[in-house]
């Protein structure tokens, strides 16, 4: 129960006049956007896979390890995308709890896949075991992950247009995380360099700037 007051009749008329002139999203726009986003994500994945190619030692990799890596990355990317882009029960995005869990658990899961499981086997290309050597081999992969992730983030921002979120920063971080996980998946299939150091520096580290970028982009809208 609440004592309610009304805006003036003038305010109502003014609102209806402005609304009549304002462009609005068409009915069922969300369904179309989700379809377009799914199509765009798949198309970008396939295109980049064709451009980059599959790592040359693919056929020598152990099947259980391969399935674990690809399955884990795919699950993490889909989950982060769904939670980061979800409308939520009240149209204001996923709950803070869900966003927080994804924002913390996904990087840990990726780190676990890269370090503890490391199922894609040892490197087929020698890396210099010095910090400079690791960095030299890592930066092209890190740049590639960052650049591949940007279109994924653009797709997410397109889906989110016109929606006001209760936690835009956190949702944006999840979007950046999802984008970097999709890119990580591609680079894991492409890059033949093994080793925890290379995987962490070259494949995993770009998720941090991408999370920050996602949070910034979502807050600015």
């Amino acid at each position: 129960m609440s004592i309610l007051e009304r805006p003036s009749a003038n305010a109502r008329d003014r609102f209806l006049q402005i609304a009549a002139r304002q462009t609005t999203s068409r009915p069922h726009a969300w369904v179309r956007r989700v379809f377009l986003a799914s199509f765009g994500t798949t198309a970008w994945l396939v295109t980049m896979l064709l451009v980059l190619g599959i790592r040359r030692d693919w056929n020598d990799l152990p099947m259980p390890g391969l399935a674990t890596t690809i399955g884990g990355l795919l699950a993490a990317a889909v989950l982060a995308s769904l939670i980061g882009l979800g409308r939520g029960r009240s149209m204001v995005g996923s709950t803070t709890e869900a966003l927080s869990i994804v924002a913390w658990a996904t990087p840990l899961l990726l780190l676990l896949l890269v370090t503890a499981v490391d199922p894609l086997g040892p490197s087929t290309v020698a890396t210099k075991a010095t910090p400079v050597g690791y960095l030299l081999h890592a930066w092209p992969c890190a740049l590639l992950v960052f650049l591949i992730a940007l279109p994924f983030m653009g797709i997410g921002l397109f889906v989110r247009r016109e929606l006001v979120l209760s936690r835009p920063g956190l949702a944006g971080a999840c979007l950046g995380l999802a984008a970097s996980t999709w890119a990580h998946l591609l680079i894991r299939v492409h890059c033949p360099l093994g080793g925890v150091e290379h995987a962490v520096l070259g494949h995993l580290l770009p998720l941090l700037p991408l999370m920050v970028l996602g949070a910034w982009a979502m807050r600015r809208r």
Binding site: I3, E5, A11, S166
Partner: protein, 201 residues
Amino acid sequence: MLAARMVGGDSPLDRAMARFAAGEDAALAEVYDLGASAVFTFLQRLCRDKPLAEDLTQETFLRIHRARGLYRQGAPVLPWAYTIARRLFLDSVRSRRSEVQDSFGDPSGTERLSPRNMAGESRSAEELLADAELAQAVDDALAQIPEAQASAFRLLKGEGLSIAEVAAVMGTSKGAVKLRAHRAYVALRTLLGQRVEGKGQ
């Protein structure tokens, strides 16, 4: 006007929004008529500035209008509207901090609390005056505590939202909402107690 509202997914407002989202343009006026009072009241208590509250109410419904095609059938509209309204208010505070601070100092609030705006016409003038004084005292006390605590209290007790809905509106966890509301109760009890003691002396 005393209004009992449904805040689930099946209130008249939610049904009107569902029709508007499905393509019935004329339902927009109904959405505004059913939801604007609650949003306007919330905003006016938040910013204590009627013209600003009207502007922000208009912008809130324009945002809903723009997002028409994104509406999920059955989603409760009021928590959505409160989220937009609160975010617009916080943005306006950030961009016009000094002007808004001036408006916090507006002590009148006479139109807002005038008996003609309140339901229960048959009640005695003394009861209406006591209600108005209490409402004014609560508003004054809420203006002295942090915005997050005051909003949690208003949405829970004033607007009748559930804890989960308030958490969604404020972008926080249910535990944080309970904590903020509890802190608001404690602060209100202290501030109103001081007021009673002051009157007694």
